[in-house]
């Protein structure tokens, strides 16, 4: 088993054991509200989209070849 598989397996075992404990009941999720800025998104994704969209803009009017 490599690191990636080990990490997944160990994490699944951890939550399973925690949930199996007799005294642990699922915490019911209360209704609530959250500002959208409360969800913090990765900057890496923003950079990826900027890069791909810049290429799309650069090639929008490119006309090469005959089909």
């Amino acid at each position: 088993m490599n690191y990636s598989t080990q990490e997944l397996t160990a994490s699944l075992q951890e939550v399973t054991m925690r949930n199996q404990r007799a005294h642990t009941q699922p915490q019911s999720l209360p209704s609530s509200t959250l500002r959208t800025e409360g969800l913090v998104l990765s900057r890496e994704v923003e950079r990826f989209v900027e890069e791909t969209q810049a290429y799309t803009a650069r090639t929008r009017s490119v006309s090469v070849g005959s089909y």
């Binding site: 990636s4 598989t5 949930n19 642990t24 913090v40 090639t59 090469v64 070849g65």
Partner: protein, 509 residues
Amino acid sequence: MSFRAATGREPAWQNTGIERGFSNFLFIDRNYDSSPVMRRIFSLARKLKYQSLLVEKISETDCPLLAEENAALRLRRPDFQRSEVDRISFFRTPADHQPADFCGYVVFKRDFFAGPPQRRSHVYESVLDPPRQSDQNNFIHCHRSYNIKTSAGDFSVRGVLYAQQNDLTFVCAHVALRSALASVLPDADISYARINALVGVNHTTKTVGDSVGLGPPDFETVFNNLGIHYQKLVHEPKQQLLLPTEFQRDLYGFIESGCPALVGFELDQPNPGPKGQSRHVIPVFGHTFNEDTWLPNAQHTYFGDTLSYYPSENWLSSFVVHDDNFGPYFCMPRHFLKKENFRLMYGLKPEPTPLSAVEAEAVGFAVIQAITNQFPPRGEDWYDRFVVYTRCGWLVLRSALVCKGKYLKHLESVRTWNGTGLEPELIERLRNRLPESFWMIEASAPELFATSRRKFGEVLLVANTPLPKPLDASMLIAARLPGLTLTQNNLQLDVKPTALQSHTPLLGS
């Protein structure tokens, strides 16, 4: 009037069962110029278990479209003399059996000229039932129904229209455009005369054929004039234009959204002409799926792929394509067409979307990561597994552009294994807040996705507005996960619990 609606003359039935000794090869060699495309079409008819065929002659007097095609040929080649057209209908029942079980048709056109070559033939069009269906892991989301009027009665077939170039008045670009546009236009077809009129091909001062084709501006003129939205991908190494992504992931995004695409590529020719390597374009409209493929795990684990999730495209086995040189419904293996040869792709879309499917998927993953940071494991088995798969980089994501009606129907039908559905008030809340179409990014685990065709849930993102800068979660419309729903209302996310705490079917499964 199309060849489908034209009156057929001189009907001739032929029983084609193998037990009757009928040979596709012999029939095509004797009657259809040993055409390889006809061999392919007849082999598909065999696969569809055809038992008989009906040949009818179509003439200009019965078919204005044929007259239009021949008029174009007279302009292009003044030595054009006449044409012969056969419409062949395929049936799963023996000749003259009632009711007849129709499974498709082909129109074969032979043109005669005074000068050499005196005889040229091609398959003008064909529609067959797809030979494999979703129960055989073949998925075609953009087929259409076609009605055919024959001397044996009226029939219909549901498939993707195939056509072959004549290399005089229409070339590979025309036939690829025709197949793709037939999948989206209200009439489910378009004539070559219409395409040529849009791009200014008049067969005298501007011609096609004999190595002259259509260029990207011609494709775009056709799309713009017909009101078709599209996304363009270009890879031109000689112009230092190197596509930063893998084009097959974008291609898969269109197919999963039910949209066809055109893929253009450069040939490897040992002796290219003065204009360089020739190019070819084909329509792509479906995919196959391999639920037991080794690739996702192996790529993730053995070969250093640093992706933080599995794109569902990893389970794709082949794209389903037509190639006018060979025939309909071929499977093009994933990654067979290398980036070195890929040059151009047009993916058709029902509306303009500032994000591509690949970009939407990346943003969807960022949203999912943010949700798991905000809502950690809380003792619910399936929600907690969802968090673990997200954090460990084992999540499977599938993105598609979907319409509100289809999604709501899906929500009303989803059930966990124990029969629990989503609460009606949560469905109603979404009904009131969803736009007409949006990006849906489904989240699953490898075994759950590939074998059970089920998922943890999905996030819905705005499709028709550009990403906010800096990136934030304002493009999140809603999220539905085990035990948890989020719905946006003026930059506020309403967080509601749901009794639907387990996995549910994928959309369309």
